[in-house]
């Protein structure tokens, strides 16, 4: 008999006033009892719409019914059949727009907490399960993956399972891409990312860090000189945008990428790491996406009073619902319908304030969202000593500039079809490098598609 409760079982969390002073994980996860309770809310639909809502098509009702029976390790293995990084997805996917948005239970009440259950299974496996190296028969073909982020790791994992010899090239000194440098510890503990990557290495994936493809070696050289039969490009969208307003060169202005990289990758908030970070008193974060929320919540944890300045309204905030909720709970102040015009500095070149203007929402623009327009004579000043620009990112031109015959569009995104095939034979691409800044799970979906297409390509060629 299913559990007919209309609401999800809540997941325990650190109290807002405690967690906004530490970098430990905010959400604490279900206990086995709660997981079983929640799993029993699933109606096990004959035609599960949730599966279609997942970019990697996790077999949701099947794994949930295993959870309901207390068969947690089997539930984990069911998820692993289609997803390379369950512990990550359970934490960072926008479930409310994907699997959970399609759940029948959501019509009257709340959807089944699919994300929380996925996270539970992955965490259970890490605590109790053993990583058994499946009996993979090597097929003798070599594939290179450029970029060890969600797209690249997924593609590498799938190809390794099919028997390919996969080498992942990563520019940073650690693999993980945005999972390591972008998403903060309190949302996605780095230990979990490391363990997920270790389990890929157990499949035989080899990762070469500190290697910038496009500089130390080109895509063409990988194929012609190093014997890779295909290359997958998953280099993400790492190039930060600025607003080009006066004062962006002042001391205390950062791109969200710089601020988050200092904290998440370089661990600047910890005394035992050498990278410095300034502890500001008052910080304005410009933007309303997940990256803006992450930057704001990091700044709060370093002791600052933090504002989010966003030019549209609450409804338009692109961040995940849970992140907005958590940010508000933690005391972040939202200045909505506000747009910066100028950053004001003191005589030593340090930020001392930001001048903004109030906005109204006008007619919908090309993106379908109502276009913000300035209200006249509505300038106002917020006193801050730091400004963080979280305005979105675009793909890095390094690969484009060094790979002959690779077509990109006017935004610098690599042009690829739905299987990841690019204009260049044997070269596939996916994730933010193709779509522009999007989500972890969409990148994983693209990595998965490309792995299947690369398998097909190499089989047909030989």
């Amino acid at each position: 008999m299913p559990n007919m409760s209309l609401v999800k079982n809540p997941m325990p969390e650190q109290a807002p006033d405690v967690r906004n002073k530490n970098f430990d994980e905010v959400a604490l996860g279900y206990t086995p009892e709660t997981a079983i309770e929640e799993a029993k809310r699933c109606l096990n639909c004959k035609k599960p719409l949730c599966v279609a809502g997942c970019p990697v098509n996790v077999k949701i009702p099947e794994f949930i019914s295993l959870v309901a029976q207390g068969r947690f390790e089997e539930a984990y293995l069911k998820i692993r059949e289609t997803s390379s990084l369950p512990a990550v997805c359970g934490r960072v996917c926008p479930q409310e727009r994907q699997c959970e948005s399609k759940c029948i239970r959501g019509i009257k009440g709340e959807a089944v907490a699919i994300g929380r259950l996925e996270r539970f299974c992955a965490d259970y496996h890490m605590a109790h399960g053993e990583d058994v190296r499946p009996g993979i028969v090597k097929n003798g073909h070599k594939v290179a993956v450029v970029g060890a982020g969600p797209a690249g790791l997924t593609c590498a994992g799938d190809l390794a399972r099919l028997g390919y010899d996969v080498t992942v090239f990563e520019a940073f000194h650690v693999a993980g891409g945005v999972l390591i440098y972008g998403i903060p510890e309190f949302r996605l503990p780095k230990d979990i990312v490391r363990r997920e990557i270790e389990s890929l290495e157990n499949l035989g994936v080899s990762i070469e860090t500190n290697t910038v493809v496009g500089k130390a070696i080109s895509v063409d050289e990988l194929m012609c000189e190093e014997g890779f039969e295909a290359v997958f490009i998953g280099t993400g969208a790492g190039l930060p945008s600025f607003m080009n307003i006066p004062g962006e060169g002042l001391i205390g202005v950062y791109s969200a990428n710089e601020f988050l990289t200092r904290i998440n990758l370089m661990k600047a908030y910890r005394d035992d790491y050498a990278t410095p970070i300034k502890h500001h008193n008052s910080v304005a974060v410009i933007g309303g996406g997940n990256v803006a929320m992450d930057a704001a919540r990091c700044a709060k944890r370093l002791g600052a009073n933090v504002y989010i300045v966003y030019r549209r309204g609450r409804e338009e905030l692109p961040a995940r619902a849970e992140e907005i909720h958590h940010a508000e709970e933690e005391g972040i102040i939202f200045k909505l319908l506000s747009n910066p015009k100028e950053i004001i500095g003191d005589e030593n070149g340090n930020v001392k304030a930001i001048k903004c203007v109030e906005m109204d929402l006008g007619e919908p623009d090309a993106s379908g969202r109502r276009r913000p327009v300035e209200k006249s004579d509505s300038d106002f000043i917020i006193e801050v000593d730091s400004v963080i620009m979280a305005l979105g990112t675009s793909p890095n031109p390094l690969i484009k500039n060094t790979t002959e015959g690779l077509v990109v569009n006017d935004r610098g995104c690599i042009v690829a079809n739905e299987t990841g095939k690019t204009s260049k034979d044997g070269v596939y691409a996916g994730g933010d490098a193709v779509t522009g800044a999007a989500t972890v799970i969409l990148a994983m979906g693209a990595g998965k598609q490309a792995a299947a297409a690369i398998d097909e390509y190499i089989k047909n060629k030989n």
Partner: protein
């Protein structure tokens, strides 16, 4: 990987290291840089490639001991391995079509100017090199620079090597003597580059400077190295490090370069205290 195969102390504050990094040595060109991380918990810092040997697979870096990371590196020895060594990054210096050039190095900047002079000299250009130092005790790479140039002028601020004056004094003297250069390349402290550019602007001679701002990734991701060139935001790591000196907003970058000065000073103090403790045997 990344093994230190040679270490030389060039003066009390400047250290040369040859690192075994065949992939980088194979591709390196003058003007490019590497990102170095001495240990797992260390910082990522950019250092310009001072030389490379494609056959031996080695890359030479020269650094001044200023902050925690360079102190940590200066404590490392031959046989030790750097945790990370990534490159070659940045756009190589443009060397084509330059027939007669003045290459100016200020202090440690000579380590960056030297490979550019060497390349231009090997391509047959007439290279007049002006190297400036505070005093004769901290002169570095004199033999190397001599071999890489047609004429070498070493200047000291205090005149202790017999040639008193700034690099700009020498350059102006050469201009006044009627020397016509296709290009001036100036690499050194921001102040020096700013004043060289002021001078060459007066004489209408194209001037290339090499910028070395704060950086984390070195591939265009953090934006920490941004500067304003000709009114536009540029990233030194991917658009540079070489820029047209007459278009660079030096005043802005001089302000920004001081962002972590306090942190550096604290690191020096902490390191000194540590050394004292070591000496005392505590």
């Amino acid at each position: 990987m990344n093994k230190i195969i040679e270490k030389r102390v060039l003066n009390e504050n400047v250290v040369l290291m040859k690192i075994y990094a065949p992939r980088i040595a194979k591709k390196a060109e003058p003007g490019q840089f590497v990102i170095v991380m001495p240990s797992e918990k260390g910082e990522r810092i950019p250092l310009t490639i001072a030389d490379y040997d494609r056959e031996a697979g080695s890359v030479t870096i020269i650094f001044q001991v200023v902050g925690a990371t360079t102190m940590e590196m200066s404590d490392m020895n031959e046989g030790d391995e750097l945790f990370a060594f990534t490159g070659p990054l940045g756009t190589p210096s443009h060397t084509e079509g330059v027939k007669k050039v003045a290459v100016i190095g200020g202090g440690l900047g000579c380590a960056i100017a030297y490979p550019q002079a060497k390349k231009l000299h090997s391509l047959g250009a007439q290279v007049d090199m002006i190297a400036g130092f505070r005093n004769k005790d901290i002169i570095i790479l004199e033999e190397e620079m001599k071999a890489a140039s047609t004429r070498l002028f070493v200047m000291t601020d205090d005149g202790s090597n017999g040639n008193r004056g700034f690099v700009t004094n020498k350059l102006e003297e050469l201009f006044e003597a009627g020397e016509k250069y296709d290009e001036v390349i100036a690499i050194g402290p921001l102040m020096m580059m700013k004043f060289v550019c002021k001078l060459t602007e007066k004489y209408g001679i194209k001037t290339i400077v090499s910028m070395n701002p704060i950086m984390i990734d070195g591939t265009g991701m953090c934006g920490g190295c941004r500067l304003t060139v000709g009114g536009k935001t540029k990233f030194a790591c991917v658009d540079g490090p070489d820029f047209d000196g007459h278009l660079v907003d030096f005043d802005e970058i001089i302000l920004r370069s001081g962002t972590y000065r306090e942190t550096e000073a604290k690191a020096r103090e902490a390191h000194c205290n540590l050394m004292k403790m070591k000496v005392k045997g505590e």
